[in-house]
Assembly symmetry: C2
Homo-oligomer: 436 residues x 2
């Protein structure tokens, strides 16, 4: 069996065009989708729980009649911890503890400075009051994603975390429910789609509105998040997952083949790319893929993904490989090279960088401690891994004394005059002219 | 002259309904706006500069024929510093220096920890490569906003900052252009609207695409930012400005009247609210507003704003005032009380908190050093003042050694098995079973 992963060379005259074709297709607004989602949101805002039940019956094929069938509190959730195997429970607990320890480092802290007049200026940090987590249903319903979304919120100190997860046909995933319990989620509502996003944003009789919604979903969920942005906070809009590997030939090609395939098995439009100055090594990676493919339960997904968006690319040297990676700002980047620390400074934006032979993406996906919710489709140019900071807010603190107000009154007054805002100018100047 | 600012009391039986009526109206998606903006973005993506020139001619009434008429590089910008008065230049320089000093404190730093196996886990921080600043035209074209948007980007270390600002009729504002020069903006393009957002997001022949777009604008700009989100980063969608003042009666009512009016003069839908346990003090504030109104150049805007959305609210005590403020999570909150530090812990979310009699919002708007781009319409529940952190990205760094890979292989493998992701499981386990 041979995979159809493409082979590219930076020597080729049409190399730039081939690379452009590998980049994520640009999204366009779909007016039909905008309207459909807007109507669903409108139904939830107008009719609350009744609309949730109707939509869950019709869209999720789930014969519920009462909201209490859909809401699992902490007590009901904790029961699922006993419905999974000891090995699974132990693995999830180890992963959760490591994720928590890593994320503790991300807590941002209050700070302040004193200026030359003795005025105090700074920022105060608070946890958000509530958060909603969207966990996809069906084939992408992962307990690891529950840990990755919920733990940062809990480390931040968010007191009230609601998770939603569609359950088509009413089938619960015990691993997902157990992970929610372990991560400290306050309740799970087994609903999904745009209706779940609307319920989290606006609230219903039974579901409390939250301050921020995070987590990936299908295009209805993504569009719903876009539409409720402003009423609540949202995280980035997630695209297909990607891995780029820069390899010098020093790492077992079978390991790299598995890393590429573990990305490819997610999704037919996931992307797996290996870049190397060593053409013979890329041959070995291709052979390892071909040898491993027949053993893969998700073989057809892997084949489709490698054919659609995969590539093995030979370039002149590692620096060129780094520049090529920088062009994509990939979600995951493995530096499968002898001296990864030496190559690291050549890498600009990426979601997560895995250094050396032993840092497989798979460890990052589950248990090393870092977050697996990462910017996709080049969004690492402007956004960051999901973290504790996504659940904390900053407030500016301004404590000016009379000396400071006097020193700054004319500065503020002059600029306000330039902006034709007379009340602003007077508010600054009166504190000098007509003291308390 | 008497203002029509409403008087409310927490004793009133319909107080909750009156408060609900004061909250920001919820936005609904306007399908017509979505389509119009989507078409403008499509024109820019397809025809680039030619579409920019057409739209700037037709929408901005600006008779340009060539892109070079619209682009001001650093050299051309610096000339505007000589076209403003010495007092204006000095005031902007003082403000810029103070804003820069405050924002220096916000730089986030690399960090890493070592786990029990000697693996290194952390985050690397980089500045974004480029940013776009949208500065509104017409009545809301403010040099202070240029400083507030550009300085954090430059403190973060963004090497390439493009500012766009519509210039209806081709009329430049020398203060805005001079502020751009002082803040280190790399170029100003005098275009606006959805077409400017599209040009920054997708690039044209003459305008480089950027990684993130920040800054407020009208509803076309807001909708365009929503549509390009994902291709580029965006900041929050700005709503009307708000000030809440909690007053115990210890601060000159004229000062508070001016603080309320300085918010009201921005916009007919801006909101100015004063909450106090002291009814007689609220009378004095109302009298001060009435006395000052005739002196205000923007009197009609102030009157409309106070009538539409303003309020003087009497409550039983300062803690109730704090709870009321928390319900709104206002953009600006003044604690005009004798002991502001004592009241501060009762305040949860707000954009910026001004402590004591001398901390007027006006100083924060211009020159105290904090940022005046703040979350509006309750968004302080989930977002933060614009800052240096908005122009930095975090990348996860994962450097696992062979011991760590061995210790974690079974944890990752077990969870991957539970998710039916065989390649993930094998990628973790093979590094133990079949070592390099």
């Amino acid at each position: 069996m041979k995979s159809d992963i493409r082979r590219l060379s930076s020597d080729a005259p049409d190399f730039d065009a081939q690379i452009a074709a590998l980049q994520a297709p640009m999204e366009v607004i779909d007016p039909g989708l905008v309207t459909t989602v807007s109507e669903i949101i409108g139904r939830i805002r107008e009719r609350g729980d009744a609309a949730i039940i109707e939509l869950t019956q019709s869209l999720d094929d789930h014969a519920v009649t009462d909201m209490s069938d859909l809401i699992f509190d902490k007590q009901r959730l904790s029961e699922f911890e006993q419905r999974i195997s000891d090995a699974e429970r132990s693995a999830l607990k180890t992963a959760a503890a490591r994720i928590e320890r890593y994320h503790q480092q991300q807590l941002i802290q209050d700070w302040s400075i004193e200026d030359e007049y003795g005025s105090r200026l700074g920022q105060r940090i608070l946890a958000m009051s509530s958060a909603g987590l969207y966990v996809p249903g069906g084939k992408a319903s992962y307990p690891s994603s529950v840990l990755m979304n919920a733990i940062p919120a809990k480390v931040a100190g968010v007191p009230d975390v609601t998770m939603v997860a569609p359950t088509p046909g009413g089938k619960l995933n015990p691993l997902v429910m157990a992970a929610a319990s372990m991560a400290g989620v306050d309740r799970v509502v087994t609903i999904g789609g745009a209706q779940a996003v609307a319920a989290l944003a606006y609230g219903t009789e039974s579901i409390k509105a939250v301050d921020k919604i995070v987590g990936p979903g299908n295009r209805f969920v993504a569009e719903a998040k876009r539409q409720v942005f402003g009423k609540v906070g949202i995280d980035m809009i997630a695209g297909p997952s990607e891995i780029f590997v820069i390899a010098d030939g020093s790492v077992d090609p079978k390991w790299i083949a598995l890393d590429l395939m573990s990305q490819a098995e997610h999704d037919e439009v996931a992307q797996a790319v290996c870049i190397s100055p060593n053409d013979a090594y890329l041959d070995a990676v291709a052979e390892a893929i071909d040898a491993l493919l027949p053993t893969m339960p998700r073989r057809s997904v892997i084949e489709a993904s490698l054919k659609n968006r995969g590539a093995l690319i030979v370039v002149e040297d590692l620096e060129r490989a780094a520049r090529l990676s920088n062009l994509f700002a990939p979600e995951h980047l493995e530096l499968a090279v002898r001296d990864a620390d030496q190559l690291l400074p050549h890498i600009t934006h990426a979601g997560a960088i895995f250094l050396g032979a032993y840092s497989s993406e798979s460890l990052g996906d589950y248990c090393v401690g870092t977050n697996h919710v990462l910017p996709t489709s080049g969004a690492a140019r402007f956004s960051s891994p999901l973290g504790v900071y996504d659940f904390q807010t900053r407030t500016s603190i301004i404590d000016v004394n009379s000396q400071g107000a006097k020193a700054l009154a004319e500065v503020a007054g002059t600029i306000a005059d330039g902006e034709s805002l007379a009340a602003h100018a007077m508010a600054a100047r009166i504190r000098v002219e007509d003291p308390n």
